[in-house]
């Protein structure tokens, strides 16, 4: 049977398989967001009816000096999250994969994800507080920095929170990389090994290219997730001291939920979503576009 015939057989019924996903996402995620989009062009306090205000919220947003700070912090998060947890996740996956005790050695990295957010927030709070667990440990080993207020000044506080999130996210990335490794067929690898490839060279030339689909997933999700960073910052510093660790998602939350300025919050949300969308589409277009041509 020729490829064209196959394609036609599949393509005719294919929408049926794609429809449930599209429908559920459209109804529960897109529709509410459409409402948010509308609100971003209005003056709305959550009580009275929204009053159309055109671009006022957007003008206010771009003339707010704190926005630049939040934008810079958000970019810091993106850079931090597509490097640290991804690299560590890959390292853990490659080292444990095929290792005799691999499943057990991987476990410490998975635990943090399984632990509930409440406990994680409290733990990192007292790891990073001045003279907290980290300070005490440094002091014990006679290292400098025992009295550092890790969360007390920017951009250091953002960096320390990236470390905290790396602790939680690296294991998840490792797990996804393991799934990627499992989908690699064994034969070509055996052949490469017979040709004398081993260690880093085997990884670089034979494994890494094959990991590309899953790397796309991991990095794609990291970009989206990091742009939306909220929880950890809200729990640990609430964006402070001052606004030194505020991210865009936090500004959005404050406007909406603290100040009841739903319109302003929605405008930031829309801006944030556009940035996220652009970043992830550029990345995915590049990654998946290439893959499509090959496949």
């Amino acid at each position: 049977m020729s490829n064209q015939v196959l394609d036609r057989t599949g393509a005719r019924k294919a929408p049926l398989f794609g429809l449930p996903a599209v429908a559920v996402v459209a109804l529960l995620l897109y529709l509410p967001f459409l409402w948010t989009t509308y609100v971003s062009f209005t003056d709305y306090d959550g009580l009275a009816s929204p009053v159309w205000s055109g671009l006022a919220n957007y003008k206010a947003m771009f003339s707010d000096p704190d926005l630049i700070g939040a934008l810079v912090n958000t970019l810091l998060w993106v850079v931090g999250m597509v490097t640290l947890p991804v690299a560590l996740g890959l390292l853990i996956a490659v080292l444990t994969y095929g290792h005799k005790w691999g499943t057990w050695l991987r476990l410490p990295f998975l635990l943090p994800y399984a632990i509930s957010g409440v406990a994680v927030g409290v733990i990192w709070g007292f790891v990073l507080q001045p003279d907290g667990a980290l300070g005490q440990a440094l002091g014990f080993f006679g290292l400098p920095g025992a009295h550092t207020g890790w969360l007390q000044a920017g951009p250091g506080n953002t960096l320390m929170m990236i470390v905290a999130v790396t602790w939680q996210a690296a294991g998840v990335n490792a797990l996804l990389f393991v799934v990627g490794l499992q989908s690699i067929p064994a034969e070509p690898l055996e052949a490469a090994r017979l040709d004398g490839a081993e260690g880093f060279s085997l990884f670089r030339h034979h494994l890494w290219p094959q990991l590309r689909p899953i790397t796309t997933v991991v990095i794609g999700l990291s970009i989206v997730g990091s742009l939306k960073t909220f929880d950890v910052v809200w729990v640990m510093t609430q964006g402070g001291p001052g606004t030194s660790s505020e991210t865009l998602a936090l500004s959005m939350y404050k406007e909406t939920f603290v100040l009841n300025d739903y319109g302003q919050g929605a405008a930031i949300a829309l801006f944030l979503s556009l940035v996220t969308f652009a970043a992830s589409i550029l990345y995915l277009r590049y990654q998946l576009g290439d893959a499509r041509e090959q496949g």
């Binding site: 509410p32 009816s49 929204p50 007292f126 001045p130 964006g239 402070g240 001291p241 606004t243 100040l259």
Partner: protein, 428 residues
């Protein structure tokens, strides 16, 4: 099996579709509540942002069931922002809250302006006449000559202290004047303990409030109503005084994540300035009132003032206007303000009650409750409720940065004032 799941998923989708359509309509549609028919029920849901009080609420619910046949089930939230947003949205839906906690000041004003909250003028008149609610409280619940909601609690802000630390530092008497308080702080500091608790999240305003209210309560009130500016000399003076105290090492590390009650218990700090509900937190840690900890009234910074400034906090219990259960709500809130109900409520948390006739078991709190009713005190609305939300939010950012790294207060105060100017301009 799989096919079955798929069919279920499909069914779910159809329902989701219906809901999403109505979500679109629900937003822009009918504001203003429709007058519902009255349907008495035998139990009410009580929405609140005080998830930690679940036990106490449940006990009160059992008591009301017994006394008047109307039960109450708490629905607790712990994040007050999510809670506020939830209640605000609920007025547009048929899930109107029969009973919910709220904040006095601008937040309640918003609801009253939109006619979303039920009026309680008759209940107030009766409760004040019966002596169940002090007349002084009325102003916080009054908007345009009418009253709304009833009080949930009342808290006075006092200075808690660790008795063991005071003993170690050789402090034998609680301070009666600001000068004495400073001496106590010096003694405690000499004994190697940080005198006062301070934080850079949320409660960063406490010392600003204490210093300003104790120095110039008129300026405090003027500031809250937009009649004075944050850049006025009196405010700057307070900030500088605060900075001097921080520089003198009077405060604990504002970045500490350890709960204040644990810091007091462990003797990391000697004194904490908190509302009387803090007694409950300390009791949770098995500290004993009068033995392990106690509290004293914070003396005025300015000894010339005729009355002692007492920071005061109260929250309302409200009901949505046009509730289907209005008669049940009235029955329950009538019961709620009685001494019987308030005795149960106060003691379930080891706290005070707004009702002076409630029998408070903790002798220290009972005495305070009586004293404050007397002439020597000037009640000051807590800064957090007294200050408009956007101004308070900006100020909390500024205070948080200030206590972490004190410097020239002026740039920060200008930021707050800019926010205040914008706010008050919009009100006129």
């Amino acid at each position: 099996m799989q096919r079955n799941t798929n069919r279920k998923a499909l069914a779910a989708l159809v329902i989701a579709g219906a809901l999403a359509l109505s979500a679109c309509g629900g937003g822009g549609g009918t504001a203003g509540p429709a007058k519902g028919e009255d349907k008495p029920v035998d139990s009410l849901k009580f929405y609140n942002d005080k998830g930690g009080w679940k036990d106490a609420f449940t006990q009160v619910g059992a008591a009301s069931k017994k006394d008047v046949g109307v039960g109450m089930e708490p629905v607790g939230y712990s994040d007050s922002n999510t809670y506020t947003a939830f209640i605000r949205s609920s007025f547009r839906t048929k899930e109107k809250a029969d009973l919910f906690t709220w904040h006095t000041g601008k937040e309640l004003q918003d609801l009253v302006d939109q006619k979303l909250v039920a009026e309680t003028t008759d209940q107030w008149t009766k409760a004040v006449a019966d002596g169940n609610i002090p007349e002084q409280l009325k102003q916080y619940f009054t908007y345009g000559d009418k009253q709304y909601c009833v009080p949930l609690n009342a808290g006075y802000w006092v200075m808690y202290y660790n008795k063991a630390v005071f003993k170690k530092a050789g402090v034998t008497q609680t301070p009666k004047t600001w000068a004495e308080l400073t001496q106590v702080a010096d003694k405690v500091k000499a004994a190697g303990v940080k005198p006062f608790y301070q934080t850079n999240i949320l409660f960063s305003f406490v010392w600003f409030e204490t210093l300003l209210a104790g120095k110039d309560p008129d300026l405090y009130d003027a500031l809250a109503t937009g009649k004075a500016k944050y850049t006025d000399p009196g405010v700057v003076e307070v900030m500088n005084e605060w900075k001097k105290m921080i520089d003198a090492g009077y405060f604990s590390d504002p970045g500490a994540k350890t709960e204040p009650q644990a810091q007091l218990k462990n003797g990391d700090v000697a004194m904490i300035n908190f509302g009387t509900w803090f007694s409950g937190n300390l009791n949770t840690l098995k500290m004993k009132a009068g033995t392990d900890y106690d509290f004293f009234v914070i003396p005025n910074v300015n000894p010339e003032l005729p009355k002692t400034s007492m920071i005061f906090e109260t929250g309302p219990v409200c009901s949505a206007a046009g509730s289907d259960h209005a008669s049940t709500v009235k029955k329950w809130t009538d019961w709620w303000v009685t001494p019987q109900a308030q005795t149960a409520w106060a003691n379930s948390r080891g706290d005070l009650s707004f009702n002076p006739k409630a029998e408070v078991k903790d002798p220290g709190l009972a005495k305070l409750n009586k004293d404050v009713g007397g002439d020597g005190y000037r009640l000051i609305n807590r800064w957090f409720e007294a200050t408009p939300v956007p101004v308070a939010n900006k100020a909390l950012e500024v205070f948080g940065a200030f206590v972490t790294k004190p410097g020239d207060p002026m740039p920060g105060l200008q930021k707050i004032q800019a926010e205040a100017d914008a706010y008050w301009a919009k009100q006129k």
